[in-house]
Subunit: 489 residues, 2 copies
């Protein structure tokens, strides 16, 4: 889709009136910077990018787009990994980059209110001196926005103990696709239906989130971290199972395999891992100091049971920080050992880990592409990184196919095709591994209660129907089945 | 509503064909036992009660009711406290009492599958020998069903640390109001929209839940419990705030005030609390044994800072069990000091506790009714028990009004009108403290995607519109806005 030139000029003028002349991009060379997010396989240049700085401005911009039936989508920092913020068909991008304020903090009741463009890590940094932090910690936390985190229901290394974004969102302000501003949640245990959870992770398809109330946590009194080095990834997997079986709930339980280690050791934050290792585990426990050392001693003991080559505890916060910097930049570090890489995001029942790893190995051999594995092992969330070279003929397509096949493996063992990156553009076809055509149509019907004209982030999450499915005849609807004009607070 | 005699006879016959002749109640004297649940202010005798024993039977029963447009509702153990399972207008009751099986347990992946009529406590008892338990523990856990818990999103004393029912539900099987059987969730981190959270706590208004997959947890290695006795409830409140501020996350943090203590000491499980106490706190920590004693020592220290009369640690599991039996039967024990009582269920921001307690005192004086307070203090969930005598003219109505006014106090400080008991029949009018008419209409529209004919548990949660509200004109709907015939698994 591209906007008619005259209409576009008129829209630009109207937008400039709302947000100011410097907050609308309309020249092709400026728009090109917005042709994709962190998922680079599919691209699309937006018709316009507009930068509102308040809820009111978002609402006014959306009203104009709604009036002209022009599709649009929200964008945070553009760090998403499934193409959710990509203007595949020239949609208008509403960037939340200027809505980047920490609105308020209520320490006694442990809540903070942020604008959607507020950067994840900044929240913890802002409240750190008072002894608080924000738990969800995606690897991109230094860049990604909390609005984007809500859109994708982002996870992170510490979600094993603390839960993903949806467990920390207490309230949302949303601009509906017709421009109306509504409040969702915001009171503890709001009665009625749980719309808050329903909106979290809806990938920008229900409206534009303009303010977020999140839970903040008291920083744990102590954090102890252990590194365990294994010759064989199977032994590391067994150690993971055993740690969980012990009844210990680690704050984090991360794993990297041989190829991933090769990547991180070639990156900007090498730890000095031997290159012949089969796997590395990072296990962290946190909480009150009393008893914490005994907990980590038990972790060490379990690690030793499974033919560990070496296991050691971090001697200082600096050593711990080095291990995490190495782990958190794992995706980017793959760039040092491969021209291109594709990050996958599957979830499996923890008990199936060894089997799934072996099947991922088969996929790697079948497509003749190396696959590095980085895992949030404790909660069964895998990030296979498929290494490829886009300059080699057909190799991108092969990588995409290999990625899809890996997700099929996850679905086949009763898992899911996304843990924290969302479906976006990337995994639309893979939705078929989990849902039937009819089941997806049912989800679409519910989306359309919020987004009846499919103006807000259209064409995402659900694949186009593959065949003529025999859907039941829709029932005659009374007027109460109309789209949602007002929402609950 | 009462069914036409001929139609009723035909329905009974059809039901008997599906579920067997001994599984349909149709005589008035049998039906009378089902005239209310644990909320006894409003009653209604059902037209029929039917007891299916499989999903297929529920589906067949529902198809017949749907065909004849006969309203119905699901019922578990009937322990609900807001009238959600009451056939106010003679609805047919579908009792899930015979669907009381533990279907399967998957220990490595920590999941159990239960039928909806399976009793909460039986799950923990069934898996206890393997070292596991089910966390949500409503006071009624020896009687209430997990299906009912899902319907109301039930909490419990240990939800401070472990979260309420919605945090433990991994999958649902649902019979939609047209009889179709659908699966929701069931895979970890299912992609698409979070329908699972949306259905949990929907109070039986979206369909009949016929199977539930829940998370089971490894039993904590150790549990330590402390009792702190205070002369003044204000001091106990300050201790609660300070314990949380210390960064300790107790497994439970319960409070009872003077009148509640009088009740429990007159009940079947007296602990021997002095009758002149102002408040009792029960604080429990659990987890790995290492460090646990140090944690509880800190709790004791904090309790002592606030003019505690006495603080002591449970010396044995038996002593702890006595304290909990006393606390968990607090509601019932009120019957020993008052002919009738009404349980309320408000939520407030923790920091407003002293102010809210003082305002509840004002309500008590205004209506000249004693109010006992039992709290899940750690998460700000209050259970004011309004004591009254239904034989005194107008006193029931005064108790209802006092209860509503207490909820208004909770709403006014930014809290909610229900933490875990649901809205049901009881708090429909109180929904106005939280939502505008338009906001409630919006929620109703979403319900009607699932339940378009309002056959399943009609007339609950939302009050009848009080006045002619100016609702927006509904939009013309495409066929994709039809009701949901299939759901996601």
């Amino acid at each position: 889709m591209s906007l008619d030139a005259k209409l576009k000029a008129s829209i630009v003028q109207q937008f400039e009136h709302i947000v100011g002349p410097r907050a609308v991009l309309h020249r092709y060379e400026d728009l090109l910077a917005y042709e994709c997010d962190g998922y680079t396989v599919h691209k699309g240049v937006p018709s316009l990018v507009v930068f509102p700085k308040s809820t009111q401005e978002v609402s006014e911009v959306v009203r104009i787009l709604h009036h002209h039936r022009i599709p649009y989508l929200p964008r945070g920092a553009g760090t998403g990994l499934s193409g959710g913020a990509t203007a595949l068909n020239g949609e208008v991008i509403i960037s939340l980059a200027r809505m980047n304020k920490l609105v308020s903090v209520d320490y006694p009741n442990r809540r903070a209110v942020v604008q959607p463009g507020f950067i994840n890590l900044k929240l913890s940094n802002s409240i750190s001196s008072k002894g608080y932090y924000y738990a969800p910690d995606p690897s991109s936390q230094a860049a990604c926005t909390i609005g984007g985190n809500v859109g994708e229901n982002a996870g992170g290394a510490h979600c094993l103990k603390y839960g993903v974004t949806t467990n920390h969102v207490l309230g949302l302000e949303l601009v509906l696709p017709d421009g109306e501003i509504v409040q969702i949640g915001g009171v503890p245990d709001a009665p009625g239906y749980d719309l808050l959870g329903f909106l979290t992770g809806s990938e920008g398809t229900m409206g534009i989130i303009t303010e977020i109330t999140v839970r903040i946590l008291k920083k744990p009194e102590g954090i102890l971290t252990v590194l365990a080095l294994y010759d064989e990834v199977e032994d590391a997997s067994l150690a993971v199972s055993d740690i969980i079986a012990e009844g210990i709930v680690p704050a984090a339980l991360e794993m990297m395999d041989r190829t991933a280690i090769e990547g991180v050791e070639s990156g900007n934050y090498p730890v000095g891992y031997p290159r012949d290792l089969g796997a590395v585990l990072i296990v962290e426990v946190d909480g009150v100091i009393a008893g914490l050392q005994e907990q980590i001693d038990r972790v060490i003991e379990v690690c030793r049971k499974h033919r560990v080559r070496e296991v050691r505890q971090a001697n200082s916060p600096e050593e711990r920080a080095r291990w995490w910097a190495n782990r958190k930049t794992a995706f980017g570090a793959m760039g040092t050992i491969s021209p291109d890489y594709l990050v996958q995001d599957g979830v499996i029942p923890r008990s199936r880990l060894p089997e799934v790893l072996s099947r991922i190995g088969e996929v790697s051999r079948k497509y003749d592409l190396r696959i590095a594995n980085v895992f949030h092992a404790g909660d069964g969330n895998l990030h296979p990184l498929i290494l490829y070279n886009s300059r080699n003929d057909g190799e991108t397509q092969r990588a995409v196919q290999a990625g899809s096949e890996v997700l099929k493996v996850c679905a086949d063992v009763g898992g899911s095709i996304t843990g924290e990156h969302g479906v976006g553009v990337e995994k639309m076809e893979d939705m078929r591994f989990i849902f039937t055509e009819e089941e997806m149509q049912a989800q679409i019907r519910i989306r359309d209660v919020f987004n009846p004209d499919q103006l807000c982030n259209p064409g995402k999450i659900f694949p186009k129907p593959a065949r003529c499915v025999e859907l039941k005849q829709p029932k005659v609807l009374g007027e109460h089945q109309a789209s949602v004009n007002t929402m609950v607070h």
